[in-house]
């Protein structure tokens, strides 16, 4: 069987969801990445999962990401999919504004998404609608902010003895 190439994936996605459903198409060291709209995530994932050729049935990872300068799409989620049969990886990205960072949950499709989404919620405050148990996972329960957002500095703000430029940080 010929190896599935990235162009085939793009064509399959465009055929199923229309030309404008995916954008920001790129390739990084052989891994295809596409960006999509938040409301397309669930149908797209189900399509990629069920398609008899593509078979993206393994959710490798889910990473939250914060771009404070990108107004209106500050918070993003990167889904790392892996088609084990074709040995092809794919990144699906989607962005939402920081005021309403609502994403659909993928726990219905991938059991693995449960804790991954809790982690993204914990660190970035991304709300996964429909998640069965969206509570903090690694940080303490009474924490009132989402620490991986870029506005929170690493060092204790009350310390003046540590000057970043001098310590190479």
């Amino acid at each position: 069987m010929e190896k599935l190439n990235n162009q085939q994936i793009i064509e399959a996605l465009q055929k199923a969801f229309g030309e404008h459903a995916i954008y920001g198409i790129g390739e990084s060291h052989g891994i295809l990445q596409v960006t999509t709209h938040v409301d397309q995530i669930v149908p797209m994932m189900h399509f990629l999962y069920a398609d008899p050729i593509l078979k993206f049935q393994f959710l490798t990872d889910l990473a939250g990401i914060h771009f404070p300068e990108a107004k209106g799409q500050e918070l993003g989620v990167v889904y790392h999919l892996h088609s084990l049969e074709n040995n092809v990886r794919l990144w699906i990205k989607a962005y939402a504004p920081i005021e309403a960072p609502n994403f659909p949950t993928l726990t219905g499709l991938y059991a693995a998404a449960n804790w991954m989404e809790r982690e993204a919620f914990d660190f970035y405050g991304i709300i996964f609608e429909g998640h069965p148990n969206l509570i903090r996972i690694l940080n303490v329960d009474d924490m009132d902010y989402h620490p991986m957002r870029k506005e929170y500095p690493l060092e204790d703000a009350t310390r003046h003895d540590k000057i970043d430029e001098m310590f190479g940080r």
Binding site: Q33, F58, T60, D61, L154
Partner: protein
């Protein structure tokens, strides 16, 4: 199947009309952890028990969360290696090499063959150490202490080889971007040969004591089983996935660091139970020995690091004599060298499965975002499903065989 279905039904334990009084079937809550000698690490499980049977489990994780991903966003790339040590601390060289490979991919550094082979040797030694810990402790958890003593001395021996190469035992910080920090020394080569000659004997002794042991088999067979479909859906990787019958191994599917040069088998189980996980790890140790033997036999001559002066520290005597070397030394140590813009995902086969690094670089001196894909964090969420309907002692054995490492779980 019917037993499990019964346990999962919401009415179990609430039937007060049964013989034996009203309290016989009452559910009780048991706090297993956070610190419990049988869980090898800080894990809390709030178990709902019906007598001896586990009805439900709720996990609490994060007790040793150290915010590595946040810290990494403020550190130059080479300082992040020490963070990776502390993830799966049973096999830190694999974490180190995975991180080096990620950054080398971003920087476009080609690592010389000799360094790749040394890395393979170190990664397989780490896998041996990891599996020795997991399997012998599993035997201890079932009540067999002797076997553990036969193989643990070899773990000590592996740590001595680490020491020879990098000076540290547990948190190794081994290797540099572009290769290794030093070549295999004479002593290290000698020690590896002693290991290759001696460990098979120790492993055979261990297997003779445990593998066909009636008590051990009774304790582990059909305990904590998971099907291949569920395992994939839960994102299992590594020995735990292979025990369920899926032959996914990063080393053979996406070879890195010259793994394509070596001949080795990927063992798979059939049932995905504790016994299969034990057997898969046991066989992987034999395969690791095979890989190390091949790497030692065919160890290429040549440099042990790439010629990448912007990222690889110059030799110390050069720093004292040569202006350029001094400048590079200073720039590297102070983390003043910017990385190119890019997005990289690199995974390696860690002791517990696919250890992935997702690195987003905005062209600065630190990563913009670094996400560790820790296999333990992802598969540990299946634990309640795996132990529902079994007894408490089975849950301990299941957890032990999954090899959940707290450092990896919580980063």
């Amino acid at each position: 199947m019917s037993e499990i279905a019964l346990v999962n039904s919401p009415n179990v334990g609430l039937d007060k009309t049964q013989k034996g009084g009203p309290y016989v079937n009452d559910l009780s809550t048991l706090n297993l952890g956070p610190t419990h000698p049988a869980t090898h690490g800080i894990f809390q499980n709030i178990l709902t028990m019906d007598g001896e049977t586990i009805v439900d489990a709720e996990q609490t994780v994060g007790y040793i969360h150290r915010a590595f991903e946040k810290i990494a966003e403020r550190r130059p790339f080479y300082q992040i290696t020490t963070l990776t040590d502390r993830m799966n601390y049973c096999s830190s060289p694999i974490n180190n090499m995975g991180w080096h490979l990620t950054v080398e991919k971003l920087l476009g550094i080609e690592v010389p063959k000799r360094a790749q082979y040394i890395r393979v040797i170190m990664m397989e030694l780490a896998r041996l150490a990891d599996h020795i810990v997991c399997n012998s402790i599993l035997a201890v958890d079932t009540g067999a202490l002797t076997g553990f003593l036969y193989v643990y001395q070899w773990r000590e021996h592996i740590y001595e080889i680490y020491e020879e190469l990098c000076g540290a035992r547990l948190t190794t910080n081994m290797g540099r971007f572009g290769g290794m920090e030093r070549d295999l020394s004479k002593v290290a080569i000698e020690k590896i040969h002693v290991l290759l000659a001696g460990l098979p004997k120790g492993l055979k002794e261990f297997e003779g004591l445990v593998m066909r042991n009636r008590i051990f088999m009774d304790r582990t067979q059909n305990v904590g089983a998971i099907s291949a479909e569920r395992a994939l859906n839960y994102g299992f990787t590594g020995p735990n996935l292979r025990a369920a019958g899926v032959d996914y191994d990063v080393r053979s599917l996406n070879p890195y660091s010259s793994y394509e040069d070596f001949e080795f088998d990927v063992p798979v189980g059939t049932k995905g139970d504790t016994y299969d996980r034990f057997l898969v790890r046991e066989e992987e140790m034999w395969q690791s020995l095979r890989i190390i033997q091949q790497a030692m036999d065919n160890l290429p001559e040549g440099p042990y690091h790439a010629d990448a002066p912007r990222y690889y520290l110059p030799p110390k005597e050069e720093v004292y004599k040569n202006m350029e070397a001094l400048i590079y030394h200073f720039k590297i140590v102070m983390g003043e060298i910017d990385a190119p813009v890019g997005e990289v995902y690199q995974s390696v086969e860690g002791g517990n499965g696919e250890l992935g690094f997702y690195l987003v670089s905005d062209g600065g001196r630190t990563p913009y975002r670094l996400k560790f894909r820790r296999p333990g964090f992802i598969y540990y969420q299946a634990f309640p499903e795996m132990i529902k309907g079994s007894s408490l002692s089975d849950a301990i054995v299941t957890m032990s065989s999954m090899n959940v490492i707290a450092g990896e779980l919580d980063t």
